[in-house]
């Protein structure tokens, strides 16, 4: 055994190996999801879909948009299902369908969230939503029943990069009145944080504005501020 080989058994490298062994590993994806992803990749390469001719760019693009590429037999909008059925996950967010038919969205504050991806993924869970970035849509008057549709984390929970907290929002699509959809507007704050505003809108009558709802949040809606240095936590209304 060489000196270097002996070194790999040294304290530092043992600690290194042990510290990662102690980390809880996420669930291994299903093999079918991986092979389906491979087949989808091969199809894209063969067909030159979306004008991409270099292998890997498709996945990179999807990742840049907060998605992870098409996986599964029926890929929709580049969504991945590498985990248990009922779960959508990518670098920016995760959606889990709960047993009570509610869906929980967990946001990774450190990743860029693509509004179009979130909108299409929410739609897959039966949550009609208009997700916008830099603008917010609302109806006047707002449809009733918002508080039955959206649950935000309690105000006391700090949602900063330092806290390690990832904000979670629970949606109850069954409680959405007919003819309504959810409006989710993302704003990049000058503090470096992000603001997500939520409201119910009338599908046939709403308007959008690039003005943020302000710190008080939209009337008859809720607001979450997260990810910035020193953010106190989510601001919830009413």
């Amino acid at each position: 055994m060489s000196d270097t080989d002996q070194m790999t058994d040294g304290t530092e490298l043992r600690e290194l190996r042990d510290s990662l062994s102690a980390v809880a590993m996420p669930e291994r994806p299903r093999l079918e999801a991986i092979t389906a992803r491979g087949r989808a990749r091969r199809r894209r390469r063969l067909s030159g879909a979306a004008g991409l001719s270099v292998a890997g760019i498709a996945a990179g693009t999807a990742l840049a948009l907060g998605t992870t590429g098409a996986v599964g037999p029926a890929p929709v909008h580049g969504t991945i299902r590498t985990l248990a059925p009922g779960t959508i996950r990518n670098a920016a967010f995760k959606i889990v369908k709960n047993a009570n038919d509610k869906a929980t969205l967990t946001i990774n504050p450190q990743e860029f969230l693509d509004p179009a991806t979130l909108q299409s993924d929410l739609a897959e869970y039966g949550i009609p939503a208009k997700v916008t970035s830099g603008s917010f849509c609302s109806s006047d008057p707002a449809p009733a029943g918002f508080s039955q549709v959206v649950s935000l984390p309690p105000r006391a929970a700090p949602v900063t990069p330092q806290s390690g907290v990832q904000p979670t929002i629970t949606f109850n699509p069954a409680a959405m009145p007919a003819g309504t959809e959810l409006s989710i507007g993302y704003f990049q704050l000058t503090s470096g944080g992000q603001q997500a505003s939520f409201a119910l809108i009338d599908t046939n009558s709403y308007s959008c504005t690039s003005t943020t709802p302000g710190p008080a949040g939209p009337p008859d809606g809720s607001q979450l501020v997260y990810g910035g240095p020193g953010q106190a936590g989510p601001d919830q209304q009413p």
Partner: protein
Amino acid sequence: MSNDETAFAEFFQESWDPCLRAVAASTGDMLLAEDQVAEAFARAWVSWRKVSRHPAPRAWVVRTALNAGASWWRRRARELPLADHDVAAPGGPGTGLDSVVLSALRRLPARQREVIVLRVFLDLDIETTARQLAIAPGTVRAHLSRAVTALRNELAQANTTEADPCPTPTR
């Protein structure tokens, strides 16, 4: 299931965790590492005939995952040139990768970190590590030696800070 499919299934089953650990240690972001490793395994599946004959298939997966990650970062840097607040910090929320040693690992120069990842987390020998990185075995030893020294210093410093965060001035 064909022989190829069976072989890939076994490889995937046995190699997912070690590969994910290696990539997560290198990137510091478990969520991102998960995506990258899934993509790398998907590519391995597409090219399984080639990958199965590779001298170190796990190393192929790890390198592919890290390359996919590098492409993503490059692309995102072009798309969001001003959004530096969006860049994930190593060991960020939810990654569980916040130990002192892993933080020290991520401060190593890229080549030293690659050597550690292949040598320690994938348990490749010096010769195979050298072939994977297209460098000489002696260079692998040198990188490993420097990496160990750097880690030792980082850990010693961290232990000192932890033991006595506010040292009392001596008279």
